[in-house]
Amino acid sequence: MHWGWMRRGVAVAEPVLQVRALCIEWRGADGRTNRVVDGVSFDLAPGATLGIAGESGSGKSTLARALLGHCRPGSAITSGSIRLDGENLASLSEPELARRRGRVMAMVPQNPLASLTFHMPVGRQLEEVLRLRAGLSAKAAGLRALELFGQMGLPEPERLVRRYPHQLSGGQRQRVVLACAIACDPALLVLDEPTTALDKTTEAQVLDLIRRLRMARQGAMVIVTHDLNVVADICDQVLVMQHGRIIEQGAVGTVFSAPREAYTRGLLGAALRVEEASRATHAAPGPTLLEVKGLSFRYARPSLLRRNPLGPPILDGVGLSLARGEVLGVIGESGSGKTTLGGIIAGLLGGEATAVRFDGRPLPGLAAQRTREQRRRIQMVFQDPLSSLNPRRRVGDAVMRPLQLFRGLERREAARCAASLFEELGLEAALLSRFPRQLSGGQQQRVAIARAFAAEPDLLICDEITSALDASVQAQLLDHLAMMQRRQGTAMLLITHDLAVVWRMAPRVLVMQGGRILEAGATEAIFRNPQNPYTAALLGAASRAARAGQGVLAGTGDKKPL
């Protein structure tokens, strides 16, 4: 592990980048303006690396583009200055900016697949930058491109240059855009969410590369991310943004070890601290409610020639069992098959009927084939709170519908019942007559939970229910969920990529990868001592930020982050 920044400390050299009282406003189609960057000031010394952290909507991406003198259509710098090498980018004309972009300042965009021209081989795209921006001849550009690809750790550069972006892996694409950005060795390199699109294993490799680049280069670097682990890994300084303002800034070690703002603490809280004891309580093992044995699943691909030719396996021989009232976590990255598993149990996808047994009886694949009682007993809460409520219907309707459907309640009775469910979940009854858009994300998800519990289910499947929520409300939601689960004695299948959620809620966990179960067992045991390297990578990637502030946190270990 490189912890070089700790030794180097904050540079004292003349700052290469000076941002002063920068304001950027967005003018909506309705003519109203919205200040997305509000009075931001900071300095950056040559060779230093600054992390800009914040949740989506905090203005960090807009700030990142402004550092290249760019504002997306509809937005504009209204005041303040950005001095790069002494020149105020805010006052330069577009052609003057264009001359500097790529050479003096460059950007590595967030989504490498979308950021590469899909109909052009990647080699040509790099050569284009080299020819036009570094002024190389076609031949020299070709050679330099191979060289750069090699430096980026891309295998077989000669073959790779002729590939199209979609033929590359996510890590390879990220390396290609990195190569394009550093082609002219810019004084300022801005990386926008450099790891978001990558899986954990690749993320580690790419971070490693960035770290090496940082060491090798003289220029300053700005990394925009929502992931504090990344900041902890490679930045000297951090700048935490919320609603367009800087709410906290300073050296990484200082900020992470003693966050002044609740918001920062929330962000940090989202990172897992295994060192804390799991708060999940083990229920006494009851009779088995759900049993899955050797479940495999493939999507049928439409074809004219064969009736149901099968795609690649999504699930491959998955087995699990769940007792009444038990909470089981299922973790894995996207594509691991965990959502498909939930979908099959819930009855969204027709699986093998014999593979799933519910309450001792085989469970038909699709919800439509199940009995009304079975449907009532298995409920689901979905990932995106907004999409899980019909935007054209009042939220009360959503909660009343299962009451009417499964419990045969009259409309008035159902309304009363829905109101009391709302109260239990800390929602005002007045919200019943609102439309989903009028609710916050956390409220929406609580309504979705209320809808699920309205049916008084025996099994609740929660599919990434916190991932669309701000860190600040996640904990609250999980508290409510745990409370309802305990009260109704519902068994839960908690599908998530967020280890903190599992750590907090589920005494037992399954780790999935590529449609298989890699590891299963008590959460404590697996998290503290992962047997499988993949599990270890998952855990390792998730806990670095926590470690960065470890020393101080140890003293406040009993304090809840929120």
């Binding site: 583009r65 290249l68 760019h70 997306r72 259509p73 264009a98 001359r99 500097r100 972009r101 790529g102 050479r103 460059a106 950007m107 965009p109 967030q110 989504n111 979308a114 950021s115 590469l116 021209t117 899909f118 109909h119 052009m120 284009e128 930058v129 036009l132 921006r133 199209y164 979609h166 033929q167 855009v177 394009c180 950005a181 074809s303 004219l304």
Partner: protein
């Protein structure tokens, strides 16, 4: 790619079969049959019933519909489009040249309209929301909103009658070489082009605007790549992809859809032939033309698919 073409082809065959059947049975709702409509009112009024019955039997019009349907399908399998009911002329012979002419008109229209539409779309997309864009989009919408017959008649009035630059009506023959025919049809071509430019321009503009907002365009912009290069080399091929499908469908519909223009200018195309065939209950001709139009749709779609595959490596497998 080949698999894609094969699958498309197979699906298209199903569509063609359904279409042929649909047309066959739909024409049954029409009052009268080919014999009735080939006779004048005087003839029908005065022809004795037994003479009528005998002639229907001669023409096979008295056979039950299913029998005629099987006969028709059998013919199709043998690539035999059948003969016209009254004159016993081979249907293929009747529709071949009009079809050629309509395809030529559609082709010329597209060839001329596409670059213009592209230029307009680029001008508009480059200046989205500004005066140029508003003017161009406005003109496109206006062009799109004026009925073809109005455009055509006004063009004739202005450029053939008041200011006689071009022929008002097409006197060239169906079988004339395409060059002669198209040279005789400048106003007809202009009429179709006006509508096409408006339509295609709108679609391409939206496509371009969408692509210009794409991440890769922003990356290139932030790399300091010149704007013209971004537009021509990066954005345009990408914007052409959704445009191609729309243009293909549009071109296919042009082949049989320019009836109004063909009528106004007396262009010897398949649209006018179609109206005539419906009028005369020449069921086989109607079916043949409908099939030809459908095949055009299929072919143009296939062309678009090939074009898309050329532009978009992601679709190549």
């Amino acid at each position: 790619m080949i698999a894609l073409i094969l699958r498309r082809g197979a699906l298209s065959l199903v569509t063609l079969f359904l279409l042929a059947s649909f047309i066959f049975f739909a024409t049954e709702v029409l009052p009268g049959d080919a014999l009735d409509v080939s006779l004048s009112a005087d003839e029908i009024a005065n022809m004795p019933a037994e003479v009528m019955a005998r002639r229907k039997a001669e023409l096979g019009l008295d056979r039950p519909i299913l029998e005629r349907y099987w006969g028709f399908l059998g013919g199709l399998l043998r690539f035999d489009l059948g003969r016209t009911i009254i004159t016993r002329a081979p249907v293929g012979e009747i529709i071949a040249m009009p079809l050629r002419n309509s395809v030529a008109l559609a082709g010329v229209t597209l060839l001329l309209a596409l670059p213009v539409a592209l230029a307009i779309a680029m001008a508009a997309a480059q200046a989205k929301g500004r005066a140029v864009d508003n003017a161009v989009s406005g003109a496109a919408i206006i062009g799109y909103s004026i009925p073809e017959f109005v455009t055509g008649l006004l063009l004739i009035a202005v450029f053939a009658v008041w200011w006689p630059l071009f022929p008002a009506t097409i006197t060239a023959s169906t079988n004339d070489p395409l060059g002669v025919l198209l040279a005789a049809a400048p106003l007809a071509i202009a009429t179709t082009i006006i509508g096409s430019v408006a339509y295609l321009g709108r679609i391409l503009r939206v496509g371009l605007i969408e692509v210009m907002a794409a991440d890769f365009v922003e990356r290139l912009h932030l790399s300091g790549i010149p704007r013209w290069r971004i537009i021509w080399l990066h954005a345009l091929p990408a914007a052409m992809i959704p445009g191609l499908s729309a243009a293909a469908l549009y071109a296919a519909s042009l082949v049989s859809g320019v009836v109004v223009v063909e009528m106004v200018f007396a262009y010897p195309g398949i649209g006018a032939e179609l109206v005539r065939a419906v009028t005369r209950r020449e069921v086989h001709v109607v079916q043949a033309i409908a099939l030809a139009a459908a095949i055009c749709v299929v072919l143009f779609n296939l062309l678009a698919d090939l074009g898309i595959a050329a532009l978009d490596p992601r679709t190549r497998r």
